[in-house]
């Protein structure tokens, strides 16, 4: 059986305690993953400052070049898994079809390859060498920055590899990484680390600690800055800690005001992509559509489109839905959805499809798309997210937008209503605003996403200096 070791500042360590991730199709053990005990993590974190000092020895420019090389290695090289072996491994333990894994690979490689653009977008600095000197000028004003911690601890999810693009720039920002991989997606962070090392980044700046919840808590407690991907409960546990950037459910949305709602059918492709891309697993997948008109017609048309999505083989280049690695989870989620359906919330997709939401294909269990037409914004199903292609369509009054939306990671607004634009721009609950026909899935890497990694890792200090420091 395959084995993934712990990486203790780059050094592989095979633990006595192991966990096993199973193949979603065969239900047989597929990979054994060494588990770090809490004390081992604590002990290693005592050396964070040494790892930080190593990265401080490089210029940002050098690290950007290495990230560029890492991009190519990540996509094309044996690390030691070949790219195809990697694709098959991710697919085996997460259920993602190969085409989706490759799409996520491209996304990660894209971030690594365009690291300079990413950093310029995050920092908005005129020159990145200010990160090397710690000081500089912008428009004639002195600027100075300092790192807020010796490393960043990241608790990673298992749902989709795309999220790894969020923390990958930390290395170019001279911040060592302490990663706790998701229990069924240990592959991608391991491969990114290997790609970086092959590109010349010292192995000593990477910690990779598959571990328990307690070990994950130690990673977050023991590092200067942290990032957490998790569900509502996990996010709540750390919500009061300003050191931790939390990535919970996205509740991403598309809104159509009167003009957009009148032409809703023009945006059907965009809605399908926003809801179903990556099998609905991403926090940037649209989970609800809020329209001021034609709600029922829009929901019906969307249901007819999404009902065409069918399970297919993992190798199918057109695969559009992924099975769940654990069939019981699929059944539980579906039961949860059903329990909240009533006369005011109807699954039109199930009706069009004429079959259950839970489907079994070649021994694997899938959650097929659902389009819930909800008659009231107060209904429990109006604003939910489930991690499969699921969307609610809610009709609201124009004046209710955007206050009725609540926390929204990505909001695509389909309207020319400039007053509504202003209200959206002023809304503090929207993480990313797309004005116009832009899929919620489309990420622009020169924009901060879910918090600004630079602001998270660095802080600005007051700074003054005279030309002659000592007379």
């Amino acid at each position: 059986m395959l084995h993934l070791p712990i990486l203790r500042y780059g050094k592989p360590y095979r633990s006595v305690d192991v966990s096993t991730a199973i193949h979603y199709r065969t239900r047989q053990p597929y990979v054994e993953i060494s588990q770090a005990n809490v004390g081992l993590i604590r002990r290693d974190l005592l050396q964070q400052h040494e790892a930080a000092a190593i990265l401080q020895g490089f210029t940002t420019r050098e690290l950007i070049v290495m990230a560029g090389k890492a991009s190519g290695y990540f996509l094309n090289d044996d690390l030691p898994q070949s790219p195809q072996e990697f694709v098959e491994s991710v697919s085996a333990t997460t259920g993602l079809p190969w085409v989706m894994v490759r799409r996520n690979m491209d996304k990660i490689a894209g971030v690594l390859a365009s690291m300079e653009t990413v950093l310029m977008g995050l920092t908005r600095l005129p020159a990145l060498d200010m990160l090397d000197t710690g000081r500089g000028e912008m428009d004639g004003r002195a600027l100075s920055f300092f790192p807020r911690g010796n490393s960043m601890g990241v608790i990673l999810p298992s749902n989709s590899p795309g999220v790894h693009s969020l923390w990958a720039p930390a290395i170019a920002l001279k911040t060592p990484l302490i990663l706790k991989p998701g229990s069924s997606e240990p592959w991608t962070p391991y491969r990114i680390i290997q790609a970086y090392i092959k590109a010349g980044v010292p192995a000593e700046v990477f910690g990779y600690y598959p571990t328990s919840h307690a070990g994950g808590a130690e990673v977050l407690r023991g590092t200067g800055r942290g990032m957490l991907f998790g569900d509502v409960a996990a996010a709540k546990a750390w919500s009061g800690d300003p050191r931790i950037e939390i990535h919970g459910p996205g509740y991403s949305k598309i809104i159509l005001a009167d003009d957009g709602a009148a032409n809703w059918d023009k945006y059907l492709d965009l809605m399908v992509d926003s809801v179903a891309n990556n099998s609905g697993r991403s926090c940037v997948n649209c989970s609800s559509i809020w329209t001021t008109g034609n709600g029922r017609e829009l929901a019906q048309a969307l249901a007819e489109r999404l009902a065409k999505i069918k399970p297919t083989s993992e190798e199918d280049p057109h695969a559009a839905v992924a099975p769940l690695a654990n069939p019981d989870v699929a059944k539980r989620i579906s039961a949860m959805v059903d329990s909240e359906l009533d006369a005011d919330a109807e699954d039109l997709c199930a009706k069009v499809r004429g079959s259950e939401r839970v489907a079994v294909y070649e021994g694997c269990t899938y959650l097929l798309p659902s389009v819930i037409h909800v008659s009231s914004k107060e209904h429990a199903m109006a604003n939910r997210e489930f991690g499969y292609p699921h969307v609610s369509v809610v009709q609201v009054e124009p004046h209710e937008l955007p206050h009725c939306l609540g926390p929204t990671l990505v909001c695509t607004a389909l309207t020319n209503d400039t007053k509504l634009h202003q209200r959206l721009l002023a809304n503090p609950h929207i993480g990313r605003l797309n004005l116009g026909a832009i899929s919620t899935m489309k990420i622009s890497w020169d924009q901060p996403h879910e918090g600004n990694l630079f602001d998270h890792l660095y802080s600005r200090r007051a700074f003054q200096a005279v030309p002659e420091l000592v007379g």
Partner: protein, 365 residues
């Protein structure tokens, strides 16, 4: 996996001899506890209500099955004098309490058991690592814990003096339950600071501590460099990985690591010297005949599982001070075969009982 106990003829004979010794001990203990002249009120009342006389019907260890499984609720609350055998009523008594991590603590009244248990345990400690006459640090729970006095007695029994710290594990549990993890961490550091003060100002060569406190202490100090030669560790679960980590990284090759499994009700199960084939598994043997550990089927606690198989730990305590037949612990493990050093059943890799829904907050202890 089924392992045979009879891998060597002499071991087989020793297992049988031990069985005879155990049965004789069971008869002696049952006679004592159910004799109206010497028994404690709890068991004398129990026998009256049960309508049978254990003195007549129990002649072997297996016969203890007639008692069914002991409920630990019997040990919660007072009056604690119901547990004092009449035959020992003239002796000064101590009352010790369990952790209190699952509600009202269980109590055990003792006179000398803690001393006897730890004197027996002392025999298993290598003198080169726990030198006779050297002083000890007790970095563990204070208050109503048996461990506190027991370790002090162990030190005294070996000719040393035990230094100790103030440590209230129940406060830590409250902090954790309230979500005040930072406060819990600070309290742990407070305990470690006390230990550091002792280690830096006295010549301590031996110590007891818990796994978490050992980790925290070793973040601050190199125990070998301050002269510690042996660490006796217990109190909470130890995984094989922790075992390896403690030996390889926390202590190093020159400090002896003695993991133990014990509690207020049992006493102390000592570990068998590790062998490479064990892959850092921690294998404990109870202090037979004073206490026995069995591994029983999760769904049928009357059935002992096969060697190497997993089940729930069942404890039987058989001393003149305490009789507790067939108590189901909150732990699970694999059943281990007798060995040369211990010709009776042991337990491997003890860990919290996985079927309990309610998690137990262990804190620093």
């Amino acid at each position: 996996m089924v392992m045979s106990t009879a891998t060597q003829p002499d071991l087989f004979a020793r297992v049988n001899a031990n069985k005879e010794r155990l049965d004789a001990h069971v008869r002696e203990i049952v006679q004592w506890h159910f004799n109206p002249e010497t028994g404690c009120p709890f068991w004398l009342n129990w026998a009256q209500e049960a309508g049978w006389d254990p003195r007549k019907e129990v002649s072997s260890y297996e016969d203890l099955a007639k008692f069914g499984n002991f409920s630990d609720d019997e040990l919660r609350g007072g009056p604690v004098r119901r547990w004092i055998p009449k035959g020992l009523a003239h002796r000064p008594a101590y009352v010790f309490e369990t952790g209190g991590s699952t509600g009202l603590p269980k109590s055990r009244v003792q006179m000398d058991d803690f001393r006897i248990d730890y004197e027996n345990f002392s025999e298993t400690l290598p003198d080169e690592s726990f030198p006779k006459g050297s002083d000890w640090l007790m970095l563990g729970p204070s208050g109503p814990r048996r461990l506190r006095l027991a370790v002090e007695h162990l030190a005294q029994h070996r000719g040393g003096i035990a230094f100790s710290v103030d440590l209230d594990p129940r406060w830590v549990i409250k902090l954790i339950k309230r979500g005040q993890l930072q406060e819990a961490e600070l309290y742990k550091q407070h305990c470690v600071d006390q230990a550091l003060t002792i280690l830096r100002s006295h010549e301590v060569k031996c110590m007891f501590t818990t796994p978490k406190l050992l980790e925290a202490l070793c973040e601050k100090i190199n125990l070998e460099k301050v002269g510690v030669k042996g660490v006796f560790c217990g109190g909470t679960e130890m995984t094989p990985q922790f075992h390896r980590f403690a030996v390889e990284e926390l202590l190093g090759p020159n400090v002896y690591f003695a993991p133990t499994y014990g509690n207020t009700l049992m006493g102390l199960a000592t570990h068998r010297a590790p062998e490479p084939k064990d892959n850092w598994a921690i294998i404990y043997y109870p202090p037979c005949p004073r206490a026995l550990l069995e591994v029983v089927d999760f769904d049928d606690a009357t059935k002992v599982v096969g060697y190497g198989e997993t089940g729930r730990v069942r404890l039987t305590t058989l001393t003149k001070e305490t009789f507790i037949p067939r108590f189901l612990e909150r732990d699970e493990c694999e059943r281990e075969a007798p060995c040369d050093q211990y010709p009776w059943d042991g337990v491997r890799n003890v860990r919290p009982f996985s079927r309990f829904q309610k998690s137990v907050v262990e804190g620093v202890y």
